[in-house]
Amino acid sequence: MTKLITLSEAINKFVEDGDTVYAAGFTHMIPFAAGHEIIRQEKKNLILARATPDLIYDQMVAAGCAKKVIFSYIGNPGVGSLRFVRAEIEAGRLEWEEYSHFSMISRLQAGATGLPFMPMNPTAAKDLEKANPFYRTVIDPYTGGEVVVVPPLKPDVAIVHVQRVDAEGNAQIWGIIGEQKEAAFAAERVIVTAEEIVDEAIIRSDPNRTVIPGFIVDAVCHVPYCAHPSYTQGYYDRDNSFYLAWDEISKTPESVNAYLDEWVYGIADRMEYWEKLGAEVHERLKVASLPSATVDYGKY
C-alpha cells in the first residue's frame, strides 16, 4: 500500500500544533525541507526535540513555531553559536529541556524499545542532573550503588530523511545513521522524506541495509535535496558557506525575517528552493561517485 504523498500534505496531515517533533539526523540528512514546510504552514507551540538543533530549529524558533526545545547541544556545527535559540533562551522567551548527548539518545532508545527508562553509567557531573528533573536514580540491585536513569522520549512525530525508500516506507540509510532509527521507532507518527523512491526489489536486494520498516511509517515523500544546507551521503555535499552565512543572518531578527521571506515563505517547495540556489551552488555541492562493494545474499 503506497504511502506516497507530497511533503506539504504530510506536514498538514501528521504535524499538529503543540506536537513534540523530532526532526532527526546527526549533522547528516537533516530534513530542512520539512522544517521549512512546517514554517510555511505556520504550525504553533511545537516542542522541538533534537540532540543538535542545528540551523533548522533556529529557523523554526525564529518563525515562531516553537514554545520549547529539547536538546543536548545548541550550536551552529563547525561554526559556533546557534544565535536565535540562544537569544530566545537568554531572553526567557523559550522553554528548554537539556541533556548530554548520551542521555538524550538514551531517552530516544527507551522510547524506541518500549522500556520504562534507560540506565547510564555515572558521569559525576551532577549539575545538569539537578537542573533537569527528568534525570532520576535507581538503586543497582547487584551492587547497591546509585544508577542515573532517563525516561523514554516518545515524540508525536518523527521526520527522517533517507537516501532511498520504497512506496510503503521501507527505508535505507548509509553514512552517518545518527538517531534516525531510534527517532522513528520512538515516535507515534513517522514522516520519511527521501532522495529517491525506489522499487521494493532494490530494498529487498539488501535487507541488512533497511533501517526503518515500512509498517511504522505514515507518509513517504519524494524530496530531493531535502537536507540542504546539510548533506546526504553520496548525493550532495554540506553547504558550509550557508552555515557560515547563517552566523551573520541570525545576528538580527530583521535579517532572519528577510531570509525566511525569501527562502521559505516566498517559495512553494523544495524544488523551487533548489532551483533558486542556482547553478553555482549545484555545481559546488556535486559529489563524485564512490560505490560500495556488493555482497551476495545467495538464492535459497
Binding site: F26, T27, H28, A51, T52, F71, S72, Y73, I74, G75, P77, G78, S81, L82, R86, I89, E90, G92, E98, Y99, S100, H101, F102, S103, I105, S106, L108, Q109, M120, N121, P122, T123, A124, A125, K126, D127, L128, A131, G145, W174, G175, I176, I177, G178, E179, K181, E182, Y231, Q233, D237, R238, N240, Y243, V287, L290
Partner: protein, 258 residues
C-alpha cells in the same frame, strides 16, 4: 640558525598531538583536536584509531572535516554505527582511550563549564551545553583539555559543572567510580598544567619563551608551579610542515593566534 615561528593554534595542536600514543583509540572533535590526531597519525602514532561522536570509526578524511559529521569522515572509514552505539558500545564500554575536551571555563580541579555563564535558569550567556563532553570526561581512559590560556577561562570555580574533572579533589572523583582517569593534562598556549596528587591543576611545563608569570597572571586561581618545571620540546619543521602543507593548507583552524 633561523627561529621557527608559529601561531598559538599550531603550538596547541602540536603539543596535543604529542600526548597521543600509537594504537590509541581517540574520540575526536573537529578543529584543533582533529588536526592534532591527524598529525599524530602521520608522525609517531600511525595506528591511531579515530572515532567521532557521529558514529564514525577509523576515519581517513581526504579533506579537512568542517563539522563533526562531515561526509569526508564516512567515505573510506572502517565502520559507522548509530549515535547510541558510539556512546554505549564504544565510549561507555571502556573502548575509548583518549578524549579531547574544551569549554568556556576550566577550574582548578579540571571541571569544565560549557553550559552557562550566570544562573542556569536565568542565563547571562547561554553556551552550547554538554554534547558528548559529560560522558567523554567520565568514560574515556584519559582526557586532555586544549584551550588558550586566559584568566576568564580559568576561574577558581566553574559556574556550572558540565563535565567532571576531579570535582572538589581527586578523592571525590575516585569515590564516583568513573571508568576514566580524568583530565591528565591541560595544554594551553603558555604551557601544560597537570593534576597533582589532590587533583589540583599545577603548572608542569612551559612552552619555549613563555614564563611562569604569564601563566600565573592568566590563571584565575593561585597557580602552583611544579618543582621540576619543564620546557616543552620545540615544534619541529616536520610537524609544522605536515600541519601547514597537508592538513590545513587554507589555515581554517591554524590561523588562530596569528
Amino acid at each position: 640558525m633561523n627561529e621557527i615561528t608559529y601561531t598559538s593554534s599550531e603550538l596547541l595542536t602540536i603539543n596535543a598531538s604529542r600526548l597521543l600514543r600509537d594504537g590509541d583509540v581517540v574520540f575526536v572533535g573537529v578543529g584543533l583536536p582533529n588536526l592534532a590526531c591527524n598529525l599524530a597519525r602521520r608522525t609517531h602514532a600511525p595506528n591511531l584509531v579515530m572515532i567521532y561522536e557521529a558514529g564514525v570509526i577509523g576515519a581517513q578524511p581526504a579533506r579537512l572535516p568542517l563539522s563533526i559529521g562531515d561526509p569526508t569522515l564516512v567515505s573510506g572509514a572502517l565502520s559507522v554505527c548509530s549515535m547510541y552505539d558510539i556512546f554505549a558500545f564504544y565510549l561507555q564500554r571502556g573502548n575509548v582511550d583518549v578524549g579531547f575536551l574544551g569549554g568556556a571555563q576550566i577550574d582548578r580541579f579540571g571541571n569544565i563549564n560549557a553550559t552557562v555563564i550566570g544562573e542556569y535558569d536565568h542565563p547571562k550567556v547561554r553556551l552550547p551545553g554538554s554534547g558528548g563532553s559529560m560522558e567523554i570526561a567520565a568514560w574515556a581512559n584519559r582526557c586532555y583539555i586544549i584551550t588558550p590560556h586566559q584568566k576568564r577561562r580559568f576561574p577558581e570555580k566553574v559556574h556550572f559543572r558540565t563535565s567532571a574533572g576531579y570535582l572538589s579533589g581527586r578523592s571525590e572523583r575516585e569515590a564516583a567510580r568513573l571508568h576514566g582517569a580524568g583530565p591528565l593534562a591541560v595544554v594551553t598556549d603558555l604551557g601544560v598544567m597537570e593534576p597533582d596528587e589532590t587533583g589540583e591543576l599545577v603548572l608542569t611545563a612551559l612552552h619555549p619563551g613563555a614564563s611562569e608569570e604569564q601563566a600565573r597572571e592568566n590563571t584565575g586561581w593561585d597557580l602552583k608551579v611544579a618543582s621540576n618545571l619543564k620546557t616543552t620540546d620545540p615544534l619541529t619543521a616536520v610537524e609544522l610542515g605536515i600541519l601547514r602543507n597537508e592538513l590545513d593548507p587554507e589555515r581554517i583552524y591554524l590561523k588562530g593566534g596569528e
